[in-house]
Point group: C2
Chain length 268, copies 2
Amino acid sequence: MTGSGPLARACAVTPDGAGAWRAELPAGWDVAGVVHGGLVMATAVGALREETGLDPVTVTGHFVSPGRAGAARIETSIVRAGRTLTTARALLEQEGRPVLAVQGSFGPIDPAPHVLLQDAPVPDWPDPESLPRTSHVPGIDFPPPLTDRLDLRLHPDDAVFVDGRPSGVARMRGYLRLLDDEPVDARGLVFAADALPPPTFNANLPVGWTPTVELTVHVRALPAPGWLRIDTGTRFISHGRMEVDAVIWDATGQVVAQARQLALVPRG
Amino acid sequence: MTGSGPLARACAVTPDGAGAWRAELPAGWDVAGVVHGGLVMATAVGALREETGLDPVTVTGHFVSPGRAGAARIETSIVRAGRTLTTARALLEQEGRPVLAVQGSFGPIDPAPHVLLQDAPVPDWPDPESLPRTSHVPGIDFPPPLTDRLDLRLHPDDAVFVDGRPSGVARMRGYLRLLDDEPVDARGLVFAADALPPPTFNANLPVGWTPTVELTVHVRALPAPGWLRIDTGTRFISHGRMEVDAVIWDATGQVVAQARQLALVPRG
């Protein structure tokens, strides 16, 4: 169930007794030295997937302290194994320090689409193969080292912030795929939901780095092979907090995930 | 901190030893005999508010089994008390049966608005005083008994489903206030986030009752006195699951909460 490929290796877990798992948060999957939140969450969700034998249907993580490259321990517990869904919790710690608390509902995700309503146009964006891949430049915070671990192609209208010319709209769109043709499974969608730069980088606002407080991902379908299209935006920034909403489509145009996070907005 | 008024009484908790609380889920706040999910969640969140001494900033509940009128016990635990936010968990049980698992970040909510971005027009809806109040008719499932516990005025374009003429759009808007002029605090927003009928009641789809699997509420500000405006909608229904998104404005036009839930869609 763990799969193989760079992401599967980066968030692998091994049993460490009843309801406990060990992981090694990897170097190089970081944003300014902090292990990427989506990767930490995918690691904890992976432990819960092993524990329950089921895929994440809706998972929520609260980020308690920054993850650092190195050993981590995950305690898992089943709240209730139900007929349709199993509710479970995980706590990921490093050296006794809580890093991430996860709670979620796990169950089967039907591979055959059965869609009653999809009220969002399938994005009609430029061909991803025609777009430059975002990559890390050593010694500079952005793009972060994380971007070298995946293939991210930002929408040209949103990539403008990289050159210091933000679009003025708090939106960030892009194509994503994993390296080595690694397929994206339900755990991969949890990672992908947090993989784009913050939409606020395109807003003309005094907004710096935006640490995630909470991330919720609804896995709506298992993606077909190929590019994911990810559309993220922020509508409300107030009291030093903002949300980021994400919708993810697979290569067939099926919505495969919805996500929202609450993040802190340091001023200036 | 518990406040007074009908909602405060309905979700009151009393200490029951270290990290434990007692509650009495009330009769009459139900939907077809099941205690309203938002009320159950407000009860657990209220226990966490007592435990932490802080307001809910972002809280997520996973609904495990239906709440019934009667005694409940809530176990609370602090994951970590941080400088800016405290992460905490609660498990609400009835007769040893888990009903709801809650996890959230608690902290101060600045009463003075400081808004950098609000990219959503303040709703320009008909005067609530001109709209009929939704009320329960004994012996009929909808509107449910819950509606008699609050003052709910549906937008006329969305209230049409009550008469069997759904609008065809998966949207439900309405004004809400509590009875006896009870003010809506952060806990009240958790309740309000789940108080409207499902948007799918207005979609021309074979969709019946929609039990909530997961509900996340971001409290963005404390509401000013007066009517809340609540706009909810559903964009994706697939694989027997749907999301409901909600934005809540207070009477001054300030966005005070954002919420999303994942619910099951029984077919037919």
